[in-house]
């Protein structure tokens, strides 16, 4: 008996193996053996190319009976490489035949999802506008509910959620002291340093106190604190309410007859409305200290001079404008955070999207309110 000539491609038993051997009658036979699973085939991409090349030769004999393991995916690959048909002469085991029968009988017309077209675009645009309108309505409803809750609390002061308010003041206010002080201090240094360079040109160094005092107390302090709180606490509030939706805590509160607005929204709104003005004073102070430090180094304006001149150049009214603005910022940040928190659906995608939306909306609204305040109080508090 003549032994067949082998042309081995891979010889490890754990991997898929393809061999071409010449038979006694001179015909060539492609023999597959080893483990034909998806991982093995992915590691040997050249095998599929070879199979496709051999499949073009219709006179070849195929023998797959020596394959140890043949999974569905590999059977499908072979089936595809053979041109969606079995070779004319194929030796295989009955269980392997069953695998190929599955692919022979499979309906290849797989459904495809909706295609993106013009109508879909118009639809999406419509949804976008309607969505915006709906969100505005929901926000107004939330505000209205808050007013009703306040009315309820006036009649039933014992229902006041003191502990929740206290916790939120600590989380959003006290724990933000470090970061707001650092950012305020650095911004004060930058502002003072850059202004000093310009003021030196005109010999108007002493006006650094006016510039810093007005800009920081009236604008930068409240704005910086609000942006930091929107990013830090606003996102946390949205995510917290969202997770409560995912873990069905919101449903549990409803089932117990506890109002979401009274126990979740009101404490956050009250806490931020109270703590943001304080944080704003804190941030302004840090920025002024930073500016004072820089002014002393760059313009030789002493700390004492800075302290003595500041009350004269910045009317007290500016402090109240800053405080009032901050209170409105706090109210809006908390309202927006809660609004987006309640829009979160119980999935991770929605959680991420709504948290992002919450922060973006809160910062945008803060800047818009700041602009409104600037126009309304244009002639108020100027030296």
């Amino acid at each position: 008996m003549e032994s067949p000539q082998f042309m081995s491609t891979t010889d490890t038993r754990m991997q898929p193996v393809l061999e071409v051997c010449a038979q006694e009658n001179g015909r060539q036979c492609v023999r597959l053996s080893g483990r034909w699973n998806l991982r093995g085939l992915m590691m040997a991409p050249q095998l599929r190319k070879k199979i496709r090349r051999f499949a073009e030769n219709k006179s070849l004999l195929w023998d797959i009976s020596a394959i140890e393991v043949l999974d569905n995916a590999s059977a499908l690959m072979l089936w595809q490489d053979w041109g969606e048909q079995l070779p004319a002469e194929l030796q295989m085991r009955p269980e392997q035949q069953r695998l190929f029968e599955r692919w022979q009988n499979q309906d290849v017309s797989v459904p495809v999802p909706e295609v993106y077209g013009l109508m879909v675009f118009v639809n999406n645009l419509g949804h976008l506008f309607l969505g915006f309108w709906q969100q505005l309505l929901e926000l107004m409803t939330l505000l209205g509910q808050l007013v009703l809750d306040l009315g309820h609390l006036l009649r039933h002061p014992r229902d006041m959620p003191w502990s929740e308010i206290s916790i939120t003041i600590y989380e959003a206010g006290v724990r933000a002291l470090g970061i707001t002080a650092l950012v305020g201090f650095l911004i004060g240094i930058v502002l003072s340093y850059l202004s000093a360079l310009q003021l030196k040109l005109f010999g108007a160094e002493i006006y650094i106190i006016d510039i810093l005092g007005l800009s920081v107390i009236r604008e930068l302090g409240p704005l910086l604190a609000a942006i930091l709180v929107a990013g830090r606490s606003g996102s946390a509030m949205t995510a917290q309410i969202g997770i409560m939706r995912v873990t069905e805590e919101l449903d549990a509160l409803s089932a117990m007859g506890i109002s979401h607005s009274l126990r979740l929204i009101l404490p956050k709104v009250v806490a931020l409305t109270l703590s943001l003005p304080l944080l704003s004073v804190w941030t302004s102070s840090a920025a002024l200290i930073g500016g004072m430090f820089s002014a002393q180094n760059t313009l030789d304006i002493s700390y004492q001079q800075f302290f003595l001149k500041l009350p004269n150049v910045v009317p007290l009214l500016n402090v109240f404008i800053g405080l009032g603005k901050s209170a409105v910022f706090g109210l809006m940040i908390a309202l927006i955070a809660c609004h987006f928190g309640f829009r979160i659906k119980p999935n991770t995608e929605s959680l991420g999207n709504e948290t992002t939306n919450s922060v973006v909306a809160a910062i945008t609204v803060v800047i818009m309110i700041d602009a409104v305040f600037a126009i309304l109080f244009m002639n108020v508090g100027m030296p």
Partner: protein
């Protein structure tokens, strides 16, 4: 000839701080078996399953999966082992940003399969094999019922046709009909694909209808391990309470009548 082992636990101890969860657990599971891991809530069943997957390391002892020790396995070997193991988490753990199709196709894409036609046909074949329609492929996980979520998760688990399947309470949260459907489905797939299954369960029907081996964890130890008939004869107080209470008696009446 004895069957090759799928899982072997050797003197496994697990401690969380001072608390001992597992105390000298030894177990060998041959390939092709369906093991039901039972025990009281909080006895460490899921922890043991997590240790078998390699998500958690035991404090002491060694775990062998498909003959390879998890403690000294190289990263590349790990990947090969993981491709060979399918895990079905209690809540399905479907990726909520992906639709059903992409969830099932995920392991294929991770493996580097880029033939879209191949992916499509494999995914639809798996969808069909777990009893879902092709139209369900475009749904998001949030739109699925509990039973459908489990089926999609099973399809994703089986897409690479692993030889070892680890299931964490596969029928929890399912109604009795969906639960029975799931058991039937798993039985059919097991007949077809011949994988080994380790499942944490409290479901007595599953133990009766599906499991070929039962392991009972109690008092931090493996107090009984073997066929259901042998476990039913175990005299440990927890086993007696678990398998011989009124409800269990009703469930096992048929089994006991047939197996003694």
């Amino acid at each position: 000839m004895s069957k090759a082992e799928a899982i072997r636990l050797e003197h496994v101890w697990t401690r969380f701080g001072d608390k001992v969860v597992h105390q000298d657990i030894n177990l060998t599971l041959p390939q092709g078996e369906i093991l039901g891991l039972v025990g009281a809530s909080g006895c460490g069943k899921t922890t043991l399953l997590r240790e078998m997957i390699g998500l958690q390391e035991p404090s002491e002892g060694e775990i062998f999966v498909m003959g390879e020790s998890l403690s000294d396995v190289s990263p590349s070997h790990w990947q090969r082992l993981r491709d060979n193991c399918g895990v079905l988490f209690q809540k399905g753990a479907l990726f909520s940003v992906l639709d059903v199709f992409e969830n099932i196709a995920f392991p294929l894409r991770e493996l580097g399969v880029d033939d879209e036609e191949l992916i499509k046909r494999l995914v639809f074949m798996k969808l069909e094999s777990v009893g879902l329609s092709a139209q369900d492929a475009w749904l998001k996980p949030a739109d699925l019922s509990g039973g459908m979520t489990k089926r999609v998760a099973l399809a994703r688990t089986l897409i690479l046709e692993p030889s070892l399947l680890l299931l964490d309470e596969p029928t929890s949260g399912l109604d009795p009909i969906s639960s029975q459907d799931f058991v039937d489905l798993l039985f059919e797939l097991h007949q077809d694909l011949k994988f080994t299954v380790v499942m944490v369960t409290h479901d007595l029907d599953i133990l009766r209808d599906l499991c070929t081996q039962v392991a009972v964890l109690a008092d931090n130890q493996l107090v009984a391990y073997g066929s259901l008939a042998s476990v039913l004869n175990c005299k440990h107080p927890f086993v007696a309470e678990f398998f011989h209470n009124k409800r269990a008696k009703r469930v096992f009446q048929f089994h006991e009548a047939n197996h003694g």
